[in-house]
């Protein structure tokens, strides 16, 4: 397959020229093509925001949900039809702010989906308010005195929740990002990929330059199965490490844990109950 197989002819891309989202779109298309994932078998689920528009620019099945609510449908879609590749793509505000409760609880479920978060440390679509990942002192039209809340650290939280795959990428490093995305999609279980993405319009602090200067890759020697090490690295703030922080290949997925799939792998959406069973259930109701 070729990245072009995912092209949407005629799509009117609404992003600003130079936005990091273009890089993520391109890298994602390439990743999917190289992994030979067919558009018809792929479902992208997104929320609302600039990042959430991504799936509109890529040929695939798409569930563009509400702001902050992409994970619940994503998890349900995968559970109903485990044969689909399900990827959740959304912004930092969407995924960690409005959607925070789904973020923490779906990590606990460990569905076999990939959760890509475009982390531009700002609310892009609504024109520049702080997002949960905005850094200290970041001034906006609503944070007039600058942000003073402790930035949300998606990696440390995911690790604290024993997420089965936790990674961070930087969109400009397209090759490394592609590698991380591949591993994430391949990973059996929930995979978080937080991708640093410069917003050239509303975030004049965390620019391409800034990300370049303030990030580096975890060493080869980093052992992603050591949760305490992973946490330590995720808590670094001086410079922000990139790469795969943590991985646990032994956890059962949500779908595997579902009784409906214990003996029968037929996707749920194909099933119908047997009338005889219903009849005997009703029959049994002669007693409580």
């Amino acid at each position: 397959m070729d990245a072009k197989d995912f092209d949407m002819t005629g799509a009117d891309v609404a992003w600003c020229p130079g936005c990091g989202n273009f890089l993520i779109l391109k890298t994602l298309k390439e990743t999917l093509a190289e992994m030979e994932i067919k558009p018809e078998n792929l479902v992208l689920v997104s929320g609302i925001g600039q990042a959430g528009k991504l799936p509109h620019y890529l040929k695939c099945n798409l569930f563009n949900s509400l702001h902050g609510r992409s994970l619940p449908p994503a998890v349900a879609i995968k559970a109903v039809n485990p044969e689909l590749t399900v990827i959740d793509v959304s912004g930092d505000g969407c995924s960690y702010g409005e959607g925070g409760n789904h973020f923490i609880h779906n990590i606990r479920r460990n569905p076999d989906i990939t959760n890509i978060v475009h982390n531009n440390m700002v609310y892009g679509l609504t024109k520049g308010q702080a997002s949960p990942t905005s850094r200290s002192k970041f001034k906006t039209n609503l944070q007039v005195e600058g942000v003073f809340l402790e930035p949300f650290n998606p990696l440390s939280i995911a690790i604290a929740l024993r997420a089965s795959f936790v990674a961070r990428a930087y969109c400009s490093d397209t090759e490394q990002t592609k590698e991380i995305l591949k591993k994430a999609i391949e990973h059996k279980g929930y995979a978080l990929v937080d991708i640093f993405q410069p917003c050239v319009t509303f975030n004049k602090t965390n620019t391409y330059q800034w990300f370049k200067e303030n990030t580096y890759y975890l060493e080869e020697s980093h052992n992603p199965t050591d949760i305490n090490q992973a946490f330590k690295r995720a808590m670094e703030t001086d410079k922000l490490p990139l790469g795969i922080f943590y991985m646990d290949n032994d956890r059962k997925t949500f779908e595997e844990n579902l009784e409906i799939y214990y003996d029968d792998k037929t996707p749920l959406y194909k099933r119908k109950y047997e009338m005889d069973k219903l009849k005997s259930l009703i029959e049994s109701k002669k007693r409580l």
């Binding site: 798409l62 109903v80 109950y273 009703i282 409580l288």
Partner: protein, 572 residues
């Protein structure tokens, strides 16, 4: 001493949470039905796990009656507070049964029969046996054969082990023994006719009726968050998940629940949620998502008194407005409010077909009273149960929101066919992609709202007219008041009065106005403070219902209350 001789009896059990009144109820309703009598029960209880004061009413009768009455022919008091709690319903005809200890300070005029129930329980090894003893006492007084009784005990406690079964059988026997002693002084049930057919009838709760309907509708996915009185339906579905391939998932909150169910539906599984007022309020944004993306989903709302947390374990009909007007924006929907179990089954099954047919949210309004009442019914009609299949295999250039003449775009699901299925919560074009074309916007609103409503209006369930059509007075009701109003009309036995019951409350049946204008006087009964359905009828027809009888203390209407209101109306 004897009970007023009549062809139906109302027995009330009262005690604290944790005393096992529900067990007594469970044993008795089964025993009564197996003995060949009609039975119905309903309960009121506090939002606590232990203590407080709860009561359950069990009615046994020759006729098929299924409503709550104020009247208590017999009161079994399992604790001291019982008499105070029910004082408004006790009169000189009420036979009060209870332990000496519990009835110490009882009113002189009360009609009391002492029975050593709690005392015997202590003797048998613990207060926990009081419930089975009490059941035994009543069972005996109702002339139910002890074999029947023992069998029920065996079935109920079987999974707790042989030891427990034995003890409970013994407790039951003790109850029968006490009953024997008491029955010397009272004679009951004489005029209540047995009908052997009843033995083989179904014994359901409102929850069971809805749950069976959901299964029949091929529900495959349910995400929900516990909330009284909808939790019982969640439990029902979770328990039948294995046999019927239903994925039940407890969501982290209500918002997740509905968004998950909508996602599951997008992927092709018929889906539902169950919740109650405050929980439903949290789902309203997602109701809009269902409307906008045209993704079918069934929403069960078990009503209880609000606002906010309100009275969690009480009953109300307060969420009609909340469902009719739920969700931002304007789109088609259907709202049912079944009044009896047969209807509940049928409606619940149909709800899934209709949700799929019109690609909309379909609501089932229930309430604590309806969900937690039991009664026997002859059977459930399976003849028209059919899983109507509206999902298509997508062609290569599939467009999810293809603008068709009637407003329905054939619905595909991902992974089934050659096409891709694009749905969007933004305004979108026919393909499903975000658009700001204002012409398409108008067409999409017309599709989602006007066109679909037009189709839906063609198949509204007509309200049921009970009584002749030569009425002077028309009584209006919806949802759970059905049985109560119906019985009240029976009591009154007047040709002048008929009853118009709505199983479907939205959209309003087109000929409703004809019914209303036929009457000299109209009266509506609602369990809310503002007369929500009356107002809705006025909104749709301009018709002003003359009398609104509104009850909003958390209790259902009783047959007597309805009778009284109607009598005074007739007297006007």
């Amino acid at each position: 001493m004897s009970l007023k001789s009549r062809d139906d009896l109302s027995i009330v059990l009262c005690g604290e949470a944790g005393q096992g009144i529900q067990t007594v109820e469970g044993i008795l309703v089964q025993a009564i039905k197996l003995a060949g009598y009609n039975v119905c029960s309903s309960k009121e209880y506090m939002s606590r796990v232990r203590g407080g004061l709860n009561s359950t009413e069990i009615r046994i009768s020759s006729k098929r009656i299924t409503a709550y009455v104020d009247r208590m022919d017999m009161l079994l008091a399992l604790n001291e507070g019982a008499l105070e709690h029910l004082k408004d319903r006790i009169n000189s005809d009420t036979l009060i049964i209870g332990d000496d200890q519990q009835l110490k300070t009882v009113n002189q005029e009360y009609n009391v029969l002492k029975a050593p129930i709690l005392q015997s329980a202590q003797e048998l090894g613990g207060i926990i046996f009081a419930n089975v003893i009490a059941a035994g006492v009543l069972s005996n007084l109702l002339n139910i054969h002890s074999d029947v009784f023992d069998q029920i005990i065996r079935d109920m406690f079987q999974r707790k082990g042989e030891e427990i079964v034995k003890k409970d059988i013994k407790a039951g026997q003790k109850g029968y023994q006490i009953g024997d002693e008491l029955s010397d002084s009272i004679k009951i049930i004489s005029k209540i006719d047995k009908n052997p057919v009843i033995k083989d009838e179904l014994l359901l709760s409102g929850t069971d009726a809805v749950g069976l309907g959901c299964i029949a509708g091929n529900c495959k996915f349910m995400a929900s968050y516990p909330m009284t009185p909808s939790t019982s339906l969640q439990i029902f579905m979770a328990h039948h998940g294995e046999d019927f391939d239903i994925l039940f998932e407890q969501a982290e909150d209500e918002i997740a629940a509905l968004n998950m169910s909508i996602g599951a539906s997008y992927a092709g599984a018929r889906s539902m949620i169950a919740t109650s007022g405050s929980g439903f309020a949290l789902m309203e944004e997602a109701v809009g998502l269902s409307g906008m993306t045209e993704t079918p989903v069934v929403i069960y709302v078990g009503q209880r008194p609000g606002p906010a947390v309100g009275l969690p374990t009480r009953t109300a009909q307060e969420d009609l407005n909340l469902t009719i007007f739920s969700g931002p924006g304007e789109f088609a929907r259907i709202i049912f409010a079944p009044g009896n179990f047969q209807e509940a089954f049928k409606i619940s099954h149909q709800a899934f077909n209709l949700a799929d047919k019109y690609q909309i949210p379909v609501f089932i309004l229930s309430d604590q009273y309806f969900a937690e009442s039991y009664y026997n019914i002859p059977s459930l009609d399976l003849s028209d149960v059919e899983i109507e299949d509206y999902i298509i295999k997508t062609p290569e250039n599939y467009r999810r929101y293809n603008l068709t003449a009637d407003g329905i775009s054939p619905r595909g699901i991902p992974g089934y066919g050659e096409g891709v299925v694009v749905v969007d919560s933004d305004e979108h074009d026919e393909e499903g992609h975000i658009t700001e074309d204002l012409q398409i916007r108008t067409e999409m609103v017309n599709k989602r709202y006007h066109k679909k409503m037009k189709l839906i209006e063609k198949e509204i369930i007509a309200p049921e007219l009970i009584g002749g059509d030569g009425y002077d007075i028309l009584v209006i009701g919806w949802g759970s008041t059905y049985s109560t109003i119906k019985e009240a009309l029976n009591v009154l036995g007047s040709d002048e009065i008929s009853f118009l019951h709505f199983n479907q409350v939205y959209p309003l049946y087109s000929n409703t106005l004809d019914y209303l204008e036929n009457a000299d006087k109209t009266i509506i009964f609602e369990n809310n403070a503002s007369g929500q359905f009356a107002k809705f009828i006025k909104m749709e027809t301009g018709f002003n219902i003359d009398e609104k009888i509104l009850k909003y203390n958390g209790m259902p209407f009783s047959v007597e209350e309805v009778v009284k209101s109607l009598e005074s109306l007739r007297g006007l």
